[in-house]
């Protein structure tokens, strides 16, 4: 009788546990990757088929689930450019132009395999719902579906390390099912303040055969920012916030 009761309870609870697990794993992935509010420096290296490289350096500030600002510190040709993201809205401020223009998530302000959605990434939970969760030997495989049509990738397949609850590989798909790019996380580093996460992200794309882009993190730490800096009027002055 006890066995039957236990089995019945398990059967009732199983779908709920599975559904909660996927969403909870994704929430943990978001917070393990970075605090909700933080600053960081990133280096983006675009490697062409002939081995030549183009390097950009960005200072990034994020607040809440969907507010991000990234300031270009290098190369000299891009220095002072600032990108702002508020949810689905993105703008680019170019000092020579003197005002911000709207940009789209699929463009790339650096001209790299990383597009604006990758460079100004907000929390995965802000953009995606977990459709399915599959437990594999060392990883959870999360199948994610974009919440709206404004999101850069319609679907993601995310392999999450079971122990660290950090992403290892993410495949990004268009609504047509076309594989747009694959993201590979590596080089787990302790940034201090309880932040231990991959310091390197590499991407390749079947659409850019032979090209590769690498993102490296440095100086990632929790920091609170006033709301006013995530506005168009503040973009020309963003660099004054660096310490």
């Amino acid at each position: 009788m006890k066995k039957l009761l236990w089995l019945a309870l398990c059967l009732i609870a199983l779908p709920a546990v599975a559904a909660i697990d996927g969403a909870q794993i994704l929430q943990k992935v978001d917070r393990n990757l970075e605090p909700e509010t933080y600053e960081s420096y990133r280096q983006l290296t675009d490697i062409q088929p002939d081995g030549s490289k183009k390097v950009s350096v960005l200072y990034t500030m994020k607040k809440g689930r969907d507010k991000v600002v990234a300031l270009f510190l290098a190369p000299a040709s891009d220095k002072g450019r600032v990108t702002l993201r508020l949810g689905d809205n993105m703008w680019l401020y170019i000092p020579d132009v003197g005002r911000a223009i709207r940009i789209t998530s699929l463009q790339s302000v650096t001209g790299s395999v990383f597009n604006n959605a990758d460079i100004l990434r907000i929390d995965y939970t802000a953009e995606y719902n977990v459709e399915a969760t599959e437990e594999q030997k060392d990883a959870y495989l999360l199948s994610l579906k974009a919440k709206t049509g404004e999101v850069a990738y319609d679907r993601l397949k995310m392999w999450v390390d079971k122990q660290a609850l950090l992403p290892v590989t993410i495949e990004c798909y268009a609504a047509s099912g076309l594989l747009l790019k694959t993201l590979h996380f590596s080089n787990i580093k302790d940034f201090g303040g309880g932040i231990k996460r991959p310091a390197t992200l590499e991407t390749d794309s079947p659409l850019y055969k032979g090209y590769k882009s690498v993102m490296q993190w440095s100086g990632l730490k929790k920091r609170d920012f006033p709301d006013e800096i995530f506005t168009l009027n503040y973009l020309p002055r963003v660099q004054e916030l660096r310490k």
């Binding site: 350096v57 689905d88 003197g98 709207r102 404004e150 440095s218 506005t231 002055r237 004054e240």
Partner: protein, 436 residues
């Protein structure tokens, strides 16, 4: 030994290419964020070498006016070296930003140079939401790509080079930013005082005015909205609004509307009788930007220029120029010529003097499988007289800190039309710009 005209530009371009290649080879692979710490003083900028070859339109009104009493030519080669220095000095809560512009220009007719302070502004930020600035500053208002009817406190934009830096104006301005939750996410208010005197902003308008202006920005339900105003002073009073919104992630629409109150506009007839017409002038612009899956960007804008001249009014001016030069040929002098020259330096001589324009641009990122290679084509048409300009362009930015751009302007139009009467009928332009 002297080099042929234009050769020094070509030699200098080769030198820039070699500097850029060396910089690329020396690049380090490691990433250390401490290299990028904020410094009390920062300086950067660019060095640009430009070569322009003009095919002159000897039948055009503006060629005749611009080359009166000069040896007549069919072509002109111009070489220009430009340097802009951009710097920042930080002390306490204050920051001093500056941008200088120097250029050296040479063609077969003239040799010229300019040294200008484009910007020099001191700003303080007592609070993240408050900034107070004073000095020479460029404030760009409006959402249009090629034109900005609500650009009330700035020098006119060149629609052939909308992203070019421009000289600012001396002003005092502030920024007050309020952020909140809900459909109205951001409110930002920018009041401006722009004095005009004998030696300050003298090209803005009549001296002896303080010229208050203001802009209110709202981010409301994912739409950028601005309301702009400039009080009556050195120029007639004016007000306007703009908006910009993404309909989908790859499709943006924008618009501007401006009204200038009691604008005095000199209008000539073909005999040189100039009358001043005073009326409210309404300008507006509607535009879109669309990105395809294959990374082609389309930009299209319609511009109604309420301060411009209709096809009929422009024809009267071109007839006046023709009559003036016919008089010169017949009698050796003309009383009409000074009038035509004076009018050409005003509204009739603007880059876009007409009332209705269409702008179209298509640009392809990473064309032919070459990353950082961007060909584009731009067309601008005066819808009233059907004259137009087409500009194919090639841009390559694959070398570190070096931009290379080649473009050809082809102007087409019948007699007495906007683009048919310009100074040149073709222009080939190449520049190399090295950032440091």
């Amino acid at each position: 030994m002297s080099l042929p005209r234009g050769s020094w530009v070509r030699c200098s371009v080769l030198l820039l290419l070699s500097v850029a290649a060396h910089a690329s080879a020396a690049e380090e692979n490691s990433f250390d964020a401490s290299e990028f710490e904020k410094k009390p003083f920062e300086i950067g900028g660019y060095l640009q070498l430009k070569q322009e070859d003009f095919a002159l339109n000897r039948a055009g009104a503006f060629y005749k006016l611009g080359n009166y009493q000069r040896p007549q030519r069919d072509s002109l080669d111009r070489s220009t070296g430009t340097m802009e220095l951009i710097g920042k000095l930080r002390q306490g809560i204050g920051t001093f930003d500056f941008r200088t512009h120097s250029d050296l220009q040479q063609d077969q007719l003239a040799h010229d140079h300019t040294n200008l302070l484009y910007e020099g502004v001191y700003s303080i930020r007592p609070d993240p939401g408050v900034t107070i600035e004073a000095g020479k500053r460029t404030l760009r208002w409006g959402k249009g790509y090629a034109w900005n009817p609500i650009g009330f406190v700035e020098r006119p934009k060149d629609p052939n080079d909308p992203e070019l830096s421009r000289e600012g104006l001396v002003m005092a301005n502030s920024d007050f930013i309020f952020n909140r939750e809900g459909p109205l996410q951001t409110i930002a208010f920018t009041p401006v005082l722009l004095p005009v005197g004998k030696d300050v902003n003298s090209d803005f308008g009549a001296a002896g005015h303080l010229n208050p202006a203001a802009k209110l920005y709202l981010l409301y339900r994912d739409t950028d909205i601005d309301f702009a105003w400039q009080g009556k002073g050195s120029r007639p009073g004016r007000f306007g609004a703009d908006f910009s919104r993404n309909l989908t992630s790859n499709f943006e629409i924008h618009g501007e509307w401006a009204r200038i109150q009691q604008l005095a506009r000199p209008v000539t007839d073909s005999t040189g009788r100039v009358t001043t017409q005073t009326a409210n002038a309404t300008s507006y612009l509607l535009g879109l930007r669309y990105l395809t899956e294959k990374d082609t960007t389309y930009i299209a804008e319609y511009y109604r220029n309420g301060t411009g001249y209709s096809d009929q009014e422009a024809r009267q001016f071109y007839q006046l120029v023709e009559t003036a030069f016919a008089q010169v040929q017949q009698t050796g002098s003309s009383v009409l010529l000074p009038k035509a020259l004076s009018l050409s330096q005003g509204g009739y001589g603007r880059p876009n003097p007409g009332t209705d324009y269409l702008y179209f641009r298509a640009q392809q990122k990473d064309a032919l499988g070459i990353v950082y290679f961007q060909p584009s084509i731009t067309a601008m048409m005066n819808l009233q007289d059907r004259s137009y300009q087409v500009t194919p362009e090639l841009v390559y930015t694959g070398l570190k800190n070096l931009d290379l751009r080649l473009r050809l302007f082809v102007l087409q139009g019948a007699r007495w039309t906007d683009f048919g009467e310009k100074q040149n009928s073709r222009k080939l332009e190449f520049y190399a710009r090295y950032y440091f």
